[in-house]
């Protein structure tokens, strides 16, 4: 027992000293989170366990009761092959706690570092591949059999890449300027395909398709309600079919103070904002960002681009079922999403022109940057399904184009911390200002006050204003038994206030003594004024 403790201690100790050199696996993430949670401003909670028995962690950062302040949610591991999101959200938590604790006096942070723990585990397994599905068994090809055609690591390098099969009926050919890259042959340009390009593995179920139904699962980032891609691989049988989705949504739907969500995922509305489309925005089922929200997105985008240049950012505004689309269209919050990092384009020079092909260009960039393990060279293998063809396995490391070399992660996390703290400084903040009381008569007082949103962000996005899941502003005029409200309401509901917006309210009160005015909305805080009549 004692030895056990000692070993654990040694592990923690060495872990603390050694700089991390690669993305953290499940045990490391858990250990780091527990360490973070020892801070007085942090709390760690497991929302549920996935089908694979892994925790869905939630880290809450706040000074005092989390519900007392407007909140921001940060989601990582939203796509199972995006380990960077997990790393960034954890490092942002550390940054905020250590370097910006004052921010927690005004804003609470709800951090979900890894929402795809079943899938991210694949990165650390002996057969590494870009997995998105959780551990729920699914019939991906809808043929009545479950998980019957997985990948196989044919070249035994521990990574699943691609296979090219020499075959005159194939549609692929080598790219002229870089023959490591396979591209589709275009017969209209006089090209003839001589290769088949397939993922690495066998056709276990002999249906003519390779590796189409491997282990798992439902993709976390494809199982949300907006634009759900029915019956597509990874989508699940219906939206929110998985335990982790339900746990997350059940939590968020009752967390009334959350006004913004930052999602680390391939969807990106920060480098380039969503565009308002009047036609789509006017339909009963809204599929375009609304006009006022588009302006907000533009403002956030400008802020983001100043910190993280938008050059070469891949465009992705969501293809249905994603967490980001849900966070705006169905949850109505200020929705932000970014992959966090993407490779720059190699520019080349007059002699060494940069390749136009996306993959070849990336290989050039990786070479310039000295990135390692980016390409697995083509290697001939014996393939039982192609006994008479030359088959080679190789290709770009499936994580290389979405993950920076690990040493860069710290600086990326700092930049995103700076960004989210800028957002927090703009958050909606209710104030009661310009309080005035006039004696209409001896025993009759008119009270006038301006309800002001001191934040630059509105109390409700235009989309959130339509949702029952974002509470309206309640304004109370609290009078005691000796007083009577002659005009004006004891409680009134105000739909919303724009950023820097103001609304004047007034009451006629009979009697004397103290009255209290309170304006409150969980996502915009509470303002109180007490008046002596």
């Amino acid at each position: 027992m004692k030895i056990h403790y000692l070993l654990g201690f040694c592990f923690l100790f060495s872990f603390g000293l050694q700089a991390q050199s690669d993305y953290q696996n499940e045990q490391q993430v858990t250990a780091t989170l527990k360490k973070i949670a020892s801070n007085k401003n942090a709390q760690l909670k497991s929302l549920t366990k996935t089908a694979g028995g892994k925790d869905i962690w939630m880290l809450t950062l706040s000074a005092g009761a989390p519900d007392a302040h407007p909140g921001i949610a940060i989601m990582g591991g939203v796509q199972g092959d995006h380990l960077l999101g997990t790393e960034l959200s954890i490092k942002m938590a550390e940054n905020i706690l250590q370097n910006h604790p004052e921010a927690l006096k005004k804003t609470s942070f709800y951090i979900f570092p890894n929402l795809s723990p079943d899938a991210t585990a694949q990165y650390f397994s002996s057969m590494k591949y870009a997995r998105q599905g959780n551990a729920s068994p699914t019939d991906d090809d809808r043929d009545g059999k479950v998980d019957e055609d997985p990948y196989e690591d044919l070249n035994g390098d521990g990574i699943i890449t691609m296979m090219r099969v020499e075959d005159p009926t194939g549609d692929y050919q080598m790219l002229e300027e870089d023959n490591r890259i396979m591209v589709k042959a275009d017969p209209n340009k006089g090209d003839r395909g001589t290769y088949k390009l397939l993922s690495e593995g066998r056709d276990n179920d002999k249906d003519g398709v390779f590796n189409e139904d491997g282990a798992g699962g439902v993709y976390f980032n494809k199982n949300f309600t907006f634009g759900f891609p029915y019956f597509e691989k990874g989508a699940g049988e219906h939206p929110v079919s998985e335990v982790e989705h339900r746990a997350l949504l059940d939590y968020l739907y009752t967390q009334w103070n959350i006004y913004a969500i930052l999602t680390f995922a391939p969807e990106n509305n920060l480098s380039k904002p969503l565009k308002y489309d009047k036609g789509k925005a006017s339909k009963r089922v809204i599929t375009s960002i609304l006009e006022n929200d588009a302006k907000l997105n533009e403002m956030l985008s400008e802020m983001y681009n100043e910190i993280i240049p938008k050059d070469d950012a891949p465009e992705n505004h969501g293809e249905g079922g994603s967490a980001f689309e849900w966070s705006y269209f169905h949850f109505g919050r200020l929705a932000m999403s970014t992959p966090g990092w993407w490779p720059e384009k190699a520019k080349g020079d007059s002699i060494n022109k940069a390749p136009k092909d996306k993959h070849a260009n990336f290989l050039r960039y990786a070479e310039e940057q000295g990135m390692e393990n980016v390409f697995i060279p083509w290697q001939e293998v014996q393939h039982p399904d192609f006994p008479n063809n030359k088959v080679e396995v190789g290709g770009i490391n499936p994580f290389a184009m979405t993950h920076p070399p690990y040493p860069l992660v710290d600086s990326i996390a700092i930049k995103h911390t700076d960004f989210i703290l800028k957002v927090a400084q703009m958050q909606p903040e209710l104030q009661l200002v310009n309080l005035k009381q006039e004696k209409v008569d001896n025993n009759l007082t008119r009270i006038t006050v301006d309800l002001h949103n001191n934040g630059l962000l509105p109390t409700h996005t235009e989309m959130g204003d339509k949702s029952r899941w974002l509470r309206k502003i309640n304004v109370y005029m609290k009078v005691n038994g000796n007083q009577q409200l002659i005009s004006g309401k004891g409680r009134q509901v105000i739909e919303k206030l724009d950023g820097d917006g103001t609304m004047q309210l007034s009451w006629l009160v009979q009697g004397s003594g103290k009255v209290t005015i309170e304006a409150t909305a969980p996502q915009a805080g509470t303002a109180t004024q007490t008046i002596n009549l």
């Binding site: 019956f231 339900r246 949504l249 059940d250």
Partner: protein, 577 residues
């Protein structure tokens, strides 16, 4: 001593009960099980516990026909009881084509509970007596959930309500966005158990009492000369419980369990009533989990009230394209038969004829699972006088002529904390939407036979002609025709579009299979070979009132068996002679 008395009372009660059941005193009315093992009065309604008890009695009395199970717990922790009814002496129950029916998804729409229970009762009491039922239970299974909303069913019955409340389940929601949940519901001020109307004498009111019928209020027209007392209507009975200046603005709920289903679900802003996400209410989730685990379900029915409608989807206009011509033809055939079986009911489409909403039960059953599903809106004013021309106001005549005044609370004076002197009265909650007792059994029976017609036309597979032809070199050619002699295919066209359910497998065992193929045209010998796994031929579909033909080339095979294995069409075995 006490125990003795109790026993004595029990004996007296049982003997009295038994006497009433004496078979020689009963003459069977055609179409109704006579001297049933379980006696149930179908001229009254039952609470969730009442229905559960009848379900248990049915299950206990017919152990070979009924399996009773809880498919989940409601919000308040009640079991959601399901009766699985089939002839368990033949075949694997869960491999028979299944028919799912439920009632009461909307809390106040209670008849479904009794109609579902009547169906379970009728099936079990008629098995072995009515050949149609005996046959039906041999090759079909019925999954019957009398109420999928037990909490709010009880709330409707036991708490003061209108005929239309509550519609939601019992998850508390903040309807007025004040941070409080369900804090300002109705109040039964006059203590009659129902929420009726409040009215107040007012010199400027725009109603008067109908001089010919004091139960009715007449709206004053702009040119009317009014000499009588004017009234203003103040809405449903209640007070401002939370002191916010509004009455009854946060009643139990509000969400709509019938906007909670997983086909093209849309949130609350699109149509009021959606909760958090599909199957976010425990009751609908329990049903969805059951249905996902039972791919044999091929037909389904849910019961609502009211209006006399046999409804099919789509629920939303935006979802029009989901229902294609082939499937609509099947819906039409069953729906039109329903109009004959249910006089006063009309076969309609939800989005066109009712309202256009997403997230309905029938939409998920069909769109998400490929199950042909109807929703019946039980009861219509037609029933009172069997008269198609009757309007809403005939309730006043029927209340007097047929209900003899039962179900109406005459207006009485009441001193309201906000409104002062008012009068409260009106129809009670059990009038208007819930079928009156004397008509309930008939309505249950007619809806049940509609269900049976639908269930009858689920796919029914058999192995038809099988020919074995000797080929040179000791090979044999085995050709089999698989017949589906009912209306529904094994895969709805919605199913085929998305491969919702796996293909049907036609397997040959007892011989060495060398090749297998689907025969596309027997006359011209057009075949499509299945190279992989030829002993189990995969067919995408076995269409309704149609056949498919398959062929194997085999060696050996003196005792061959053909097995048809279809998720929705069942499992059929045939020994080749």
């Amino acid at each position: 001593m006490k125990n003795y008395i109790y026993k004595f009372i029990c004996v007296v009660m049982v003997s009295a009960f038994a006497k009433a059941q004496s078979p020689q005193d009963i003459f069977q009315a055609a179409g109704t099980p006579s001297n049933p093992k379980v006696s149930v009065a179908f001229n009254q309604y039952y609470t969730a516990e009442g229905l559960a008890e009848i379900g248990k009695k049915i299950a206990d009395a017919h152990p070979k026909l009924v399996k009773r199970m809880s498919i989940g717990k409601s919000t308040e922790g009640r079991d959601i009881w399901l009766l699985a009814i089939t002839d368990s002496s033949t075949g694997n129950p869960d491999r028979k084509p299944g028919f799912y029916l439920d009632g009461n998804i909307h809390s106040n729409e209670i008849q479904g509970g009794e109609i579902s229970t009547y169906t379970a009762w009728y099936l079990t009491e008629s098995f072995g007596k009515v050949p149609y039922i005996t046959e039906m239970l041999k090759d079909r299974i019925f999954y019957i959930v009398a109420t999928i909303n037990p909490d709010a069913r009880n709330n409707y019955m036991k708490e003061p309500n209108t005929g239309s409340s509550p519609r939601a389940g019992m998850i508390a929601l903040d309807d007025d966005s004040d941070g409080l949940f369900d804090e300002d519901g109705y109040d039964d001020l006059d203590g009659d158990g129902s929420i009726t109307q409040m009215r107040r004498k007012s010199a400027t009111g725009d109603y008067i009492i109908n001089p010919q019928d004091p139960r009715r209020m007449i709206r004053i027209g702009p040119d009317d000369v009014v000499t009588g007392q004017r009234y203003e209507m103040l809405g449903r009975e209640g007070i401002d419980n939370d002191g916010d200046g509004v009455i009854n603005e946060d009643t139990p709920g509000y969400y709509d369990p019938n906007r909670d289903w997983g086909w093209k679900w849309q949130p609350d802003y699109v149509q009021r009533g959606a909760y958090k996400y599909p199957f976010s209410a425990p009751e609908t989730r329990a049903v969805a989990d059951f249905v996902k685990a039972h791919p044999n379900i091929a037909g389904a029915q849910s019961f609502h009230n009211s209006g006399g409608m046999i409804l099919r989807g789509p629920g939303a206009e935006e979802d029009k394209d989901t229902y294609n011509r082939a499937d609509v033809a099947i819906y039409d055939a069953i729906g039109k038969k329903g109009e004959e079986l249910l006089p006063g009911y009309n076969y309609l489409t939800v989005y066109k004829d009712l309202y256009s909403v997403f997230g309905g039960e029938l939409d998920w059953f069909y769109g998400g699972r490929g199950i042909y599903t109807f929703t019946n809106e039980i009861f219509t004013g037609f029933a009172y006088y069997k008269n198609k021309d009757g309007d809403r106001d005939q309730i006043y005549d029927a209340g007097k002529d047929l209900l003899l005044g039962d179900g109406f609370t005459p207006f009485k004076a009441y001193n309201h904390p906000t409104y002062g002197e008012i009068e409260i009265g009106g129809f009670k909650k059990n009038v208007g939407r819930a079928t009156p007792g004397f008509m309930l059994e008939e309505e249950a029976h007619r809806n049940m036979v509609f269900v049976f017609y639908h269930a009858f036309h689920m796919p029914h597979l058999s192995v038809g002609d099988v020919s074995v032809k000797s080929l040179p070199n000791g090979y044999k050619e085995v050709t089999a025709t698989i017949v589906n002699n009912r209306l529904m295919p094994t895969h709805a066209s919605q199913d085929l579009k998305y491969n919702i359910e796996r293909p049907d497998y036609i397997k040959l065992s007892g011989a060495k299979v060398l090749a297998g193929m689907i025969v596309e045209d027997a006359d011209f010998n057009v075949t499509k070979e299945q190279k992989n796994n030829p002993e189990s031929i995969q067919v995408k579909n076995i269409p309704g009132n149609d056949k498919v033909m398959v062929r194997w080339i085999v060696k050996g095979g003196n005792t061959m068996t053909i097995t048809v294995d279809s998720a929705k069409g069942g499992l059929v075995e045939h020994k080749v002679k």
